[in-house]
């Protein structure tokens, strides 16, 4: 049912587009974002869009000129209208002309492009710096000067992706925790990755930087309009590559200051005194969230995994065995033949989060160990 409705809707939208194109002509259609680069909100993105328009129109003019000649020839020089071939096959003058003129046109294109490149590469004198780390399949944002950070994961429910629910407005372009930055501020972005190559891309900023494990690259942007800007990972990074959006909220400087204070308070509170002793049900509730955000991409919400690539945790020997082994697995990841597997180390999670997720997996689905793992145990295991 749902699927039929969805296809009817998609079909009608298609029809609308066709009609819009037919009635309004390409001029009107070009204004819609589905046809062209997204509306820019940084000086660089604006320069890029101008560059693109310039080169686009130059190409259109050349194209029309060149193929005007071809179609003239096709209509006038055809055998069926009795045209007899003229047997020339060389002309140094025109050959020189059509080598030199394109060269000059290219010079005109290279000049503004060079200017933009120099501006893009100038990451000096930033007002603030954030570090972005790509993981399979989420982003980590680290506010280096403020001393806190968080993960940012797709928040579109699986039911929408699997067509069991209607899709929301920002389907696949929404996250739990967006990156928040102040308006009119030069933000330097340090980009790296923890596993494979990703690419951090926000079209409205004109920023795309590959995130390369083991290396830190930098780029920058200065957004001049408050709003929410959405992009995606742009480098194939495995199974969920299509499902790791980038969302940046640009807020006023005041709102940013408030947000910072709140975040710091939250970080302090969630700094989760590792000595605290938790109730099992609280840990399980928290663990479910940690699991959904970090582990379900591979092991699945059902705990069944995707064997053989990603093993089931439901019924797993490790999860139902001694807890020390499982804690070690999660803390250190799994190596096979001396090489890291997709099961990487989860050390970056807090003691409480690891305790929660371990407790959760040991008491979910078919697993009924009844055991609780406290943050203090993780703290010990880390040493």
């Amino acid at each position: 049912m749902v699927r039929t409705k969805a296809s009817v809707r998609a079909g009608s939208r298609l029809l609308q587009t066709i009609i819009a194109v037919a009635l309004l002509g390409p001029g009107a259609a070009l204004a819609a974002p589905e046809w062209n680069l997204q509306p820019p909100v940084t000086p660089i993105a604006r320069q890029i869009i101008d560059l693109h328009s310039f080169i686009f129109w130059v190409c259109v003019v050349i194209f029309v000129g060149v193929f005007g000649v071809m179609f003239y020839s096709i209509f006038k020089h055809r055998k069926s209208v009795g045209h007899v071939a003229v047997q020339f096959h060389e002309n140094t003058t025109v050959e020189v002309i059509w080598t030199v003129i394109p060269f000059l046109i290219l010079l005109f294109m290279a000049f503004p492009a060079t200017r933009t490149i120099l501006a893009m590469k100038d990451t000096s004198a930033p007002d603030m710096t954030v570090k972005v780390t790509g993981y399979q399949w989420k982003w980590n944002y680290d506010y280096l000067q403020e001393g806190f950070g968080f993960y940012s994961t797709l928040s579109t429910p699986a039911a929408q992706i699997e067509n069991r629910e209607p899709k929301g407005e920002h389907y696949l372009l929404e996250v739990d925790n967006p990156l928040v930055v102040p308006v009119d501020t030069k933000v330097r972005v340090l980009v790296t990755a923890g596993d494979v190559i990703h690419s951090w891309w926000v079209p409205a900023f004109g920023v795309k930087q590959d995130a390369i494990p083991g290396f830190v690259r930098d780029t920058w942007f200065k957004a001049d309009k408050v709003g929410t800007y959405r992009g995606q990972c742009a480098e194939l990074c495995g199974k969920e590559h299509g499902f790791m959006p980038v969302v940046v909220e640009v807020v006023s400087k005041d709102d940013y200051a408030k947000w910072l204070t709140a975040q710091k308070a939250k970080a302090a509170a969630a700094g989760d005194d590792p000595g605290r002793v938790w109730e099992q049900k609280d840990l399980i509730a928290r663990g479910e969230k940690v699991f959904a955000g970090n582990c379900a991409a591979c092991h699945q919400l059902t705990g069944k995994g995707v064997p053989p690539a990603f093993p089931a945790l439901d019924g797993s020997k490790v999860v139902n065995g001694p807890k020390a082994v499982q804690i070690r697995t999660v803390l250190n990841g799994v190596e096979r033949d001396g090489k890291p597997t997709a099961m990487v180390s989860w050390k970056a999670l807090s003691d409480t989060d690891i305790a929660a997720v371990v407790t959760y997996t040991r008491n979910s689905w078919g697993n009924k160990t009844g055991e609780t793992v406290q943050p203090s145990e993780i703290k010990v295991a880390r040493q």
Partner: protein
């Protein structure tokens, strides 16, 4: 080379066309050293892989018909994009070009066969095992390689044994290409008929001569890159692992040092085919023959110094970006020269529009469009927005499908009468062109919009604002796919029941292959012709 006349003496014997001593049935094909037989096998192999890769493309387009996951899961989707790319590049386009070379180069230069006839057999028969490895990898535990045809580590280090299958397939296909290239170079340099100087050679031979040098230069580099992947995966090296002192980006440099010349390896023979067709149906010699040769050479040389334009978002230093951008833009000049020369060849000709000419004009029109989008991609700031998006997908399908594949269709319609001695149904062939032309554009033109609007490539699902154009593209792709069944029908019908073809079915044709009867006898030019 002394073995060539010898071979033929043995094979020739009684019958006027020398069939007498050849094995028949399947053994004829397995043991053949005849350039025409081998050319035929290359072409059928290419077509088979084209259909296999095409089915994968249609799987991709079916999944992308609507937002949401409907047809396949994301991992299988990634395997489809990966195998589609590898199969089309290494299985369909490259062997297709070698098929044309095998058939036409000896006949165009007045040589009796390829220089190394047995190696020719071997270089073909390496391909089916490679294809089996690639397609078979779908059925191994963990599935086929799913990291894209570009095989970037560290993602490829994580992959299962399907990746090892892919690596070995690439090794084998590389060996086959290198042998084929040595053969082509030797044939062209040593076996030309008396009077056939290099600068009198048909342009198709020139483009292949230069392509063969490119292949010899870069296939070993690709083999090196995938071998490093293999040792990183299994033998503890860390070429591409920063933790061990390596660098993941190193792979990209090595890969694209192969990869950019590779795109010219794919397009240059197509240039050659089009340069044969356009003069024939314009009834005029090719305009600017010498500048065409120089342009091909210039493109080939430039192709070695532009590779990092595929890596504009990896964080190259400023000087690197500027260098690769300028160098890439320069390629527009010799490419432009070629387009202008083709147009000047048509200018004041006496044009007719048989199927080969239609495909050549379609090539000219759409390839040029792909050239323009290539120029747009070369401008690094713009590339930052469109790299790894559907814009790039549109760009390279304009040059590879509307470019090379259209040239192959044109070449097939041009030479099929020579190959099988029969004409095809001209009306159907024209219909094949128009359907291909329309559906090609319905499929790939909207991808420019998708890319500009921000849709990344290699994703199994997408946001709502991309829904309309994806639906259009998917519809077009099925149209394009089914149209190719018509091509199959046209060719088979011609072979089985086409009208008898004259030695020279095209009024304007001038090259040597048209001086022999149709179908070309099993052995041609055993006594070399004399070229004035």
């Amino acid at each position: 080379m002394s073995s060539i006349p010898h071979d033929h003496a043995a094979a020739h014997g009684e019958g006027p066309d020398g069939h007498a001593h050849h094995p028949t049935g399947i053994m004829r094909w397995i043991t053949t050293t005849n350039h025409k037989d081998i050319g035929t096998m290359y072409l059928w192999f290419s077509f088979t892989m084209f259909i296999v890769g095409g089915c994968m493309a249609l799987t991709i387009r079916a999944e992308l018909f609507q937002p949401g996951l409907q047809v396949v899961n994301p991992e299988f989707f990634n395997s489809m994009t990966t195998l589609h790319g590898l199969i089309m590049v290494f299985g369909a386009l490259m062997p297709g070009a070698v098929g044309f070379a095998n058939w036409m180069i000896p006949m165009q230069i007045g040589a009796p066969d390829m220089a190394f006839a047995r190696m020719n057999n071997w270089s073909f028969w390496l391909l089916p095992p490679a294809a089996i490895l690639l397609v078979g990898s779908l059925f191994v535990p963990g599935g086929a390689a799913a990291a894209g045809w570009t095989m970037y580590p560290p993602l490829t280090i994580q992959a299962g044994m399907g990746m090892d299958f892919t690596i070995f397939a690439v090794h084998i296909m590389g060996a086959s290409s290198i042998m084929g290239s040595i053969n082509i170079i030797t044939t062209i340099l040593n076996l030309r008929a008396p009077g056939m100087t290099l600068m009198k050679m048909p342009l198709f031979c020139w483009t292949w001569l230069i392509t063969a040098y490119l292949l010899i230069a870069v296939m070993p580099v690709l083999a090196g890159a995938v071998t490093m992947l293999l040792t990183d995966r299994h033998f503890g090296t860390t070429f591409f692992n920063a933790a061990g002192g390596g660098d993941p980006v190193l792979f990209q440099h090595v890969f694209w040092f192969f990869g950019h010349p590779e795109v010219y390896i794919i397009i240059l023979p197509a240039f050659g085919i089009v340069s044969e067709i356009i003069p024939t149906f314009s009834r005029k010699p090719l305009f600017g023959y010498a500048s065409m040769v120089y342009a091909v050479a210039a493109i080939a040389i430039l192709s070695f110094i532009v590779w990092a334009h595929h890596m504009f978002t990896t964080g190259l230093p400023t000087a690197g970006i500027l260098f690769y951008m300028y160098a890439t833009m320069l390629i527009a000049i010799p490419t432009g020269v070629k387009v202008f020369n083709w147009l000047a060849t048509m200018w004041k000709g006496s044009l007719t529009f048989e199927a080969p000419m239609l495909f050549a004009i379609g090539f000219l029109f759409l390839f040029t469009l792909g050239g323009f989008t290539g120029l747009v991609c070369a401008i690094q700031p713009i590339d930052v927005q469109i790299q790894d998006t559907y814009y790039v997908v549109a760009h390279f399908h304009y040059v590879m499908v509307a470019g090379t594949l259209f040239a192959f269709f044109g070449g097939t319609y041009y030479w099929l009468p020579k190959w099988c001695g029969r004409m095809y149904d001209a009306k159907l062939a024209e219909a094949h062109f128009w359907l291909s032309f329309v559906f090609f554009n319905v499929t790939f033109f909207p991808m420019h919009f998708l890319g500009l609007a921000g849709m990344p490539r290699r994703v199994p699902d997408y946001a709502q604002q991309f829904a309309d154009w994806n639906m259009v593209a998917s519809i077009g792709s099925f149209g394009f796919g089914f149209t190719q069944l018509l091509f199959f029908y046209i060719v088979v019908k011609a072979i089985r029941s086409g009208a008898k073809a004259p030695a020279k079915p095209w009024e304007g044709a001038t090259t040597l292959e048209w001086t022999v009867p149709s179908p070309a006898p099993y052995h041609t030019f055993e006594t070399p012709p004399f070229v004035k």
